[in-house]
C-alpha cells in the first residue's frame, strides 16, 4: 500500500484507539464521584454509621488488597456497633485506634481520588491534544501539505515502516509541499521569490526598491552572497537605507563588509557615516561597469546613472586607515572631521609633507583628512613650494582666513603662480589670483571647504 494511504489508515486507527482511551479516562473521572462519597462519610465520625459496606468495599478494592479491605470493613462494622450503641444511650465510645482507622480511610481515599483526578485530567488533555494532532496530520497528508513532521516521526517510530520508505515519503512531502504552495520555483520568478524571502529576514519590503533596482538585484545579484550579507547584517544588527542596502547587496560581500565593520567598531567610528561614500562598500567596480554598459539602451537607464559616480574605493579606504594607524594618528578624530577624506588617493604623499611641519596631533589629524587642505598641500609640493613651506612653518588650520593667508604667501612666493580651485557646486575651475578672487572672505568656514583643488 502506498505510504500515504497507509498513514491515513494508521492515523485513523490511532485516533480510534485514542478515542477509546479517552472514553476510559472519562469513565475513570466519573469514578472519582464514588470516592468523594466515601470521603465525605469518613470526614465526620458520625457519618460512618451510614456507610454502605458494598460501596466502601468497591472503592477500597481499587486502592488496596482484599485482606486489608476486609480488615477495614470488619473494623468499620465494629465502629458502627459502637456508634449505634452510643446513639442508643449506651456508655460506649470509639477508642483511639478506631478513630485513627476512620481518619486513615479518609486519607487513603482522598489521596487516591486526587491522584486519580490529576492523572485523568492530564491524560485527557494529552489524549485530546494527540487526537487533534493526528486528525490534523491526517488532514495535512490528505491535502498534500504536511507541516507537522514531528508528530509524523512519532507515529512512524513505533511502526514497521522501513527507514528507506520514511525517507522516500519525506522527500515526497518536500516535493508536494513546494508544488502545493503553487509556486513555480523551478522556473522564472524563482530568483525574485528568493530575494523577497531574503528581504523579509531583515523586515524590508522588496517592493520598496524601484523597478530598475529590483531588476539589477534579480539579474546581477548572487543570492548566496545576498543571503550571507543579510545574515551578517542581522547578526550585527546593522541598519541601512534602502538605497545603501541595494548597493551593498549587489556590489559587496561579507568579507568586505566585515572588514569595514571591524575597523569602525575597533576605533569607535560611526558606521553609518561610511555610507556617505558608498564606494567604500563596493568590491566589484567591474560589475558596475557591466550593469551600466548592458543597460544603457534601457528606457530607465537614468535610474542607474548614479552608479556611474560610485567608484570602488574600499582598497584606498583600507590603505588610508592602515596608513594612519601606522602613523599612530587618531583615526576617530580624522573620521569625525571629514570622512570623505579617507578615500583620498594621495594621502600618503600628504602625510609625508605634513609630517615635516610642526603640527600637533590634532592639527595633523584635522588637516590630513581634510580634502581641501590636504590636497592643497600636495599641490603646493607639485608647484615646487616644498622648501617655502619648510622654511615658513605654517600653523595650518581650517580657517578661511588662514587659508587666504597661505594662498597669499604662496602667490607672493610664486610670482606667476597658478592654483586652480575646482568648485564642487558648479564644477567650474577658478583661478586663485593675487587678489583672491574666488570670492569675498566669508565668515562661514564650511562654505570655503566646499572648494577643492
Amino acid at each position: 500500500m502506498e505510504l500515504k494511504n497507509y498513514l491515513i489508515e494508521l492515523l485513523s486507527n490511532i485516533i480510534h484507539d485514542k478515542l477509546e482511551m479517552l472514553s476510559e479516562t472519562e469513565d475513570n473521572m466519573k469514578k472519582t464521584e464514588e470516592y468523594k462519597k466515601i470521603e465525605e462519610i469518613f470526614s465526620d465520625v458520625s457519618n460512618v454509621l451510614n456507610v454502605d459496606n458494598d460501596e466502601l468495599r468497591k472503592v477500597l478494592n481499587s486502592i488496596t488488597d482484599e485482606d486489608t479491605v476486609e480488615g477495614i470493613i470488619s473494623n468499620v462494622d465494629m465502629i458502627k456497633i459502637v456508634l449505634n450503641g452510643e446513639n442508643n444511650g449506651l456508655d460506649l465510645s470509639l477508642d483511639e485506634s478506631q478513630e485513627a482507622l476512620i481518619k486513615g480511610v479518609y486519607d487513603i481515599v482522598y489521596n487516591h481520588r486526587t491522584e486519580l483526578e490529576n492523572k485523568c485530567t492530564e491524560t485527557k488533555a494529552y489524549l485530546e491534544d494527540f487526537i487533534a494532532r493526528c486528525e490534523n496530520l491526517s488532514n495535512e497528508i490528505g491535502i498534500g501539505v504536511v507541516r507537522d513532521i514531528d508528530t509524523l516521526d512519532v507515529i512512524l517510530k513505533d511502526k514497521e515502516v522501513s527507514d528507506e520508505e520514511i525517507i522516500k515519503y519525506k522527500l515526497e512531502i518536500l516535493r508536494n509541499n513546494n508544488s502545493n504552495y503553487n509556486l513555480n520555483l523551478e522556473g522564472k520568478g524563482k530568483e525574485e521569490v528568493e530575494l523577497r524571502l531574503a528581504f523579509k529576514k531583515i523586515d524590508i519590503d522588496f517592493d520598496t526598491l524601484n523597478e530598475i533596482e529590483k531588476k539589477i538585484l534579480i539579474n546581477y545579484g548572487n543570492i548566496d552572497n545576498i543571503n550571507e550579507l543579510i545574515e551578517y547584517i542581522l547578526s550585527k544588527k546593522l541598519q541601512f537605507s534602502i538605497n545603501n542596502l541595494f548597493i551593498l547587496l549587489v556590489f559587496s560581500n561579507v568579507s568586505n563588509l566585515s572588514k569595514i565593520y571591524d575597523i569602525t567598531t575597533t576605533y569607535e567610528l560611526n558606521f553609518d557615516k561610511l555610507f556617505m561614500m558608498p564606494g567604500v562598500f563596493i568590491k566589484d567596480q567591474e560589475l558596475i561597469n557591466t550593469i551600466i554598459e548592458e543597460n544603457k539602451n534601457e528606457e530607465d537607464y537614468y535610474n542607474i546613472s548614479y552608479l556611474e559616480n560610485i567608484q570602488a574605493q574600499f582598497d584606498i579606504f583600507n590603505k588610508n586607515i592602515s596608513l594612519l594607524l601606522e602613523k599612530n594618528k587618531n583615526i576617530k578624530e580624522c573620521f569625525k572631521t571629514n570622512i570623505l577624506s579617507l578615500i583620498i588617493p594621495d594621502m600618503q604623499k600628504n602625510i609625508a609633507i605634513l609630517e615635516e611641519l610642526p603640527l600637533s596631533d590634532k592639527e595633523f589629524s584635522i588637516i590630513v583628512i581634510n580634502p581641501f587642505l590636504a590636497t592643497s598641500k600636495s599641490s603646493f609640493e607639485e608647484c615646487g613650494l616644498r622648501d617655502y613651506i619648510n622654511n615658513n612653518p605654517l600653523r595650518l588650520t581650517t580657517s578661511y582666513y588662514r587659508l587666504k593667508e597661505i594662498a597669499t604667501r604662496i602667490i607672493d612666493a610664486r610670482k606667476n603662480g597658478k592654483i586652480i580651485f575646482r568648485s564642487l557646486s558648479d564644477k567650474k575651475n577658478y583661478w586663485l589670483s593675487k587678489n583672491i578672487t574666488i570670492g569675498e572672505p566669508k565668515e562661514n568656514v564650511q562654505e570655503v571647504i566646499k572648494w577643492n583643488f
Binding site: M21, F130, D150, I167, N178, Y181
Partner: protein, 220 residues
C-alpha cells in the same frame, strides 16, 4: 537539538568532501587539457617544418616524452642529436649526411608519435564528458552546500531532485537523512510562509513534548 546540529554538520562535511573529490577530478581534467594544448602547440610549431621540432622548449619536450613514450628513454637524446646535426648541417659538414638523414627520420617518427597521441586524446570524448558532468556536479552541489546552516537551511530547497541526489551521495546514516529532511521540510514551509503564501498554521509542540506524551500513552 544536538542530533539536528550533528546531522547538519555531517551533511556539510560529507558534501564538502564529495565536492572536493570532484574538484580534484576537474583539476586533473584541466591538467589533461593543458597537456592537449601543449601537444597542439608543439605540433603547430613544427607541422610546416618538422626540423623545427628539436628547437622547441626542451623541458616541455622532455615532459611530453615522459608521458607518451615512457618506455623509450632515448627520445630526448634523438632530439638533442638532431638539433646538433641540423645546426651542423648549416655549415655543410658532409660527414654528417648519413647521420643527418637518420636524425630526420627520428624527428619524423617522434612528430608522428606526438601527433597520433594528440589525435587519440582529442578523439577521446571521456575528458569532455567528464568535465561537463563533474562541473555540473560541483556547481549544483555547491548550491546545496551553501544552503546548509548550523541547524537550519539558509534558503529554500527548491530543487528537490537535486537535494535527493545530494543527500543520497553524501554517505549519511538513514537517521541523519531523516533528521535533515525534517529540517528541510520545516524550513521550506517557513520560507514559503514568509513569501506570503500561507496555509493555516498549527502551534506544534516540540518533539520532546510529543515523545513524553507518547511514552505516557504507552504506560497507560
Amino acid at each position: 537539538m544536538n542530533n539536528v546540529i550533528n546531522a547538519m554538520s555531517k551533511f556539510k562535511t560529507n558534501l564538502g568532501n564529495f565536492i572536493d573529490e570532484y574538484k580534484n577530478e576537474l583539476e586533473h581534467i584541466e591538467k589533461e587539457e593543458e597537456f592537449i594544448r601543449t601537444l597542439s602547440d608543439v605540433i603547430n610549431y613544427s607541422k610546416n617544418d618538422i626540423l623545427l621540432l628539436p628547437f622547441y622548449d626542451q623541458t616541455i619536450l622532455s615532459r611530453i616524452f615522459e608521458r607518451i613514450s615512457p618506455l623509450s628513454s632515448n627520445e630526448m637524446n634523438k632530439i638533442k642529436t638532431a638539433k646538433y646535426l641540423i645546426e651542423a648541417s648549416k655549415s655543410v659538414d658532409k660527414s654528417h649526411f648519413l647521420q643527418y638523414n637518420n636524425a630526420v627520420k627520428d624527428i619524423k617518427n617522434i612528430f608522428d608519435n606526438i601527433n597520433s597521441y594528440y589525435e587519440k586524446m582529442l578523439a577521446d570524448e571521456t575528458l569532455k564528458t567528464n568535465k561537463e558532468k563533474y562541473s555540473s556536479i560541483v556547481e549544483n552541489y555547491e548550491i546545496i552546500y551553501n544552503k546548509i546552516g548550523e541547524d537550519s537551511f539558509k534558503s529554500i530547497i527548491d530543487d528537490v531532485d537535486l537535494f535527493e541526489e545530494t543527500i543520497t551521495n553524501c554517505k549519511l546514516e538513514n537517521e541523519d537523512i531523516s533528521t535533515i529532511l525534517n529540517i528541510a521540510i520545516k524550513d521550506n514551509l517557513k520560507y514559503l510562509d514568509t513569501a506570503g503564501i500561507s496555509i493555516e498554521k498549527k502551534d506544534n509542540k516540540s518533539q520532546d513534548e510529543i515523545y513524553d506524551l507518547s511514552h505516557l500513552l504507552r504506560e497507560e
